[in-house]
């Protein structure tokens, strides 16, 4: 017997272990409560305007539990523009709900923070870009509205405002520090500066084409996004890709992880005033990017994963070069790890700095690499392995320290593991086709993708419209979950440690800004 308090779900086709259910508002709240109770997490939250199909607005949530993903779809009856708040159970829902309001005008009933998030003033508060009747010409040039930062009062408290343009070559965002002397009492982030209207832009593409846009949500995770998008497209088309394509995707994803970890480890050393580390790791990263460029035809491997398979194959020579490079980099990484471990000055900067305790990580829903440094033992490559991971016995790296040192450690160990995985994938790669033809999507067909990128889990949902076009696509970056934890990690630390702490998370701005 189905429990009437919970919605009836059906499995979704495709690689990602996922189910879909339409819920009532009561079921929405009850299902969320049960996920929360059982230690599950909120992966993504987004909305859609389905009034063109004679329906109403709807709000979606994707939860992760022991069985995989559960996607809930809550249609809002009639002219209703409200839905039950989830941020009480899952604090990470707050910014997602604010973004949904900015883009769709739907209000989370009971939520405390209703300030705009993505809307800085470029469109009127009464306009909603993802509504079908939005006037695309109605934007306002140079209309930045003031933002109500939370003020910290007290003797000697002052504010430091940083950004949106930062000192280094990094993405734009605003940080408002409330400090006493050097000590940070509070940090408040103001993001959304790189909002590019990606979700509306998806509608201009077909389901077959959308991978290019998905792969540019966050350039450093282009493979993870493109694969998650491809999974979603293949899920809604109910097609299966050839074995060689799956192994190629694994190869590309691990190559992306190696590139990013090499870059981050150098930058982390540099932020602890150890320029030697940056010189060495940036050299290794360049070696790796050149090898990838030779093997895959693009340094960052953009547009290599496509719905139906992959757009690139590796020959014997490229495979040999990748394997040899993994061995040479692997040996150097071990030397560098020893140097890091024995460098007392650097360890002094890393240990206890920017700590996120396992309890706080659980409470606020930290995910991905940073999560695994705070005892959150989730890695989709191990928890729900798709081919090739189901055949590779990936080692899950988990530490509980929660400080910069732990995040450095997770990077080193995951880097070493990926340098093992790449040759292992090359050795066992099945022969055969790398791409299949795509059938025409059925309007209304819905699919999801879920991939463990180097930073954390990337989630994509796609619904097909008429003529093969995308009706609604949502791409979710793990930075949504992790940015609020950076606010906590800096508390009680000194201002000069912020760049180091921030880099130890290395979150995306573009990914969650959409």
């Amino acid at each position: 017997m189905a429990n009437p308090a919970l919605p009836v779900s059906r499995p979704l086709a495709g690689e990602a272990p996922a189910s879909y259910a339409r819920a009532t508002p009561a079921q929405w709240t009850e299902a969320a409560r049960r996920v929360h109770e059982s230690g599950g997490r909120l992966v993504a939250l987004w909305g859609a305007d389905r009034r063109d199909a004679g329906e109403a607005f709807c709000i979606y949530a994707a939860f992760a539990g022991a069985e995989g993903l559960a996607v809930l779809d809550l249609p809002l009856a009639g002219d209703h523009e409200t839905y039950p708040d989830l941020s009480g159970l899952f604090p990470c829902a707050s910014r997602m709900q604010r973004a949904v309001h900015d883009l769709l005008g739907l209000v989370p009933e009971g939520a405390v923070d209703l300030r705009p998030w993505l809307r800085h003033g470029a469109w009127r508060p009464s306009d909603y870009p993802l509504r079908r009747d939005f006037d695309a010409e109605a934007f306002r040039a140079n209309a930045i509205e003031p933002y109500a930062f939370v003020r910290v009062e007290g003797d000697g408290v002052h504010e430091i405002a940083v950004g949106p343009i930062h000192a280094g070559v990094i993405e734009p965002g605003h940080f408002r520090f409330s400090v006493v002397g050097e000590k940070v009492l509070r940090l408040e982030e103001r993001l959304g500066y790189t909002h590019k209207g990606i979700e509306r832009r998806f509608r201009d593409f077909t389901v077959a084409e959308g991978y290019r846009l998905a792969g540019r949500c966050s350039g450093d995770s282009t493979v993870a996004y493109a694969w998650a998008y491809a999974q979603a497209a293949e899920s809604l088309l109910a097609i299966v890709v050839p074995p060689r394509a799956r192994w190629m995707r694994g190869l590309l994803l691990e190559a992306e992880r190696i590139a990013n970890h090499l870059g981050d480890l150098g930058a982390l050393g540099n932020d602890a005033a150890f320029g030697f580390a940056l010189a060495q790791f940036s050299r290794l990263r360049e070696d790796w990017l050149r090898t990838c460029n030779d093997a895959f035809g693009h340094r960052l491997m953009m547009d290599r994963v496509v719905p139906g398979g992959v757009a690139v194959d590796v020959g014997v020579d490229a495979a040999g070069a990748l394997g040899a490079r993994c061995r040479s980099i692997g040996a150097e990484v071990l030397t560098m790890r020893e140097i890091f471990d024995e460098h007392s000055g650097m360890q002094d900067r890393f240990i206890t700095t920017g700590r996120v305790s396992p309890d706080l990580a659980r409470e606020l829903g930290l995910v991905g690499l940073a999560g695994r440094a705070s005892g959150r033992a989730f890695d989709l490559r191990v928890d729900f392995p798709v081919e090739p991971y189901s055949r590779l016995e990936v080692r899950k790296v988990v530490h509980a320290g929660g400080d910069v040192a732990a995040r450095v450690r997770v990077r080193f160990e995951e880097l070493i593991e990926s340098l093992r995985l790449v040759p292992a994938i090359l050795d066992s790669m099945p022969a055969g086709e790398t791409r299949v033809q795509l059938p025409d999507p059925r309007p209304g067909a819905f699919g999801v993708g879920w991939i463990e990128g180097w930073r954390g889990e990337v989630f994509v949902a796609v619904e097909a419209g008429e003529g093969g076009r995308i009706r609604r696509a949502h791409a979710h970056d793990p930075s949504w979950q992790n940015w609020p934890l950076v606010e906590h990690a800096i508390m009680g630390n000194i201002v000069p440690d912020f760049p180091l702490i921030n880099k130890s998370f290395n979150l995306s701005y573009s990914g969650p800004d959409l």
Binding site: H120, A122, W123, P129, F134, A136, E137, A138, F139, A141, N142, I144, P164, I165, A167, G168, V169, I170, E171, P172, G192, Y193, T194, H195, K196, G197, I198, R200, R201, D204, R212, L213, R216, C217, S218, G219, D220, T222, G263, F276, L278, A279, Q280, S282, R283, R285, E286, L289, R299, L300, M302, T335, M336, E338, I339, E342, H343, S508, Y509, S510
Partner: protein, 171 residues
Amino acid sequence: MIPILLKSLRTGIVTEPAPQAREEWRVRAAQVNDEILKLLGRALVIREVDAGSCNGCELEVNALSNPYYNLEGLGIRLAASPRHADLLLVTGPVTRNMEEALRIAYAAMPEPKLVVALGDCARDGGIFGASYATCGGASRVIPVDVVVPGCPPPPRAILEGILAAVRAAAG
């Protein structure tokens, strides 16, 4: 300390390029320095502004500082403030949320100022186009001297674009 010294010694100097390409690089490096000196009589200082890129361009701009390209060895430095900059390197389609910040950064630069629009997005909005959220390219907001195509442009192309801007300004 000893492992660090050993590692440094064993790594040696990897600055580009290896034998055959080396000549070509020397010429180019000499040219870069020459052009910069002719135009400015000093090193070239660059302020990079991400005006809403996907962060792919930033990865490649940062790669310019690795030992292979050795940007600083050419007398080119990335500065923290536009007030210290000769050249503004802009990435991204220029989101409407970054439009004002980009204008302010440009205005803060001393004359003469050069602008390089880096990547397909800064050229014309790229895959994001022009929309309610994006201006559709850097030249819609500030004057642009050189456009470097690519998604993202590789480090060498970025260097060539910077050189092209310096040369164009030298007339």
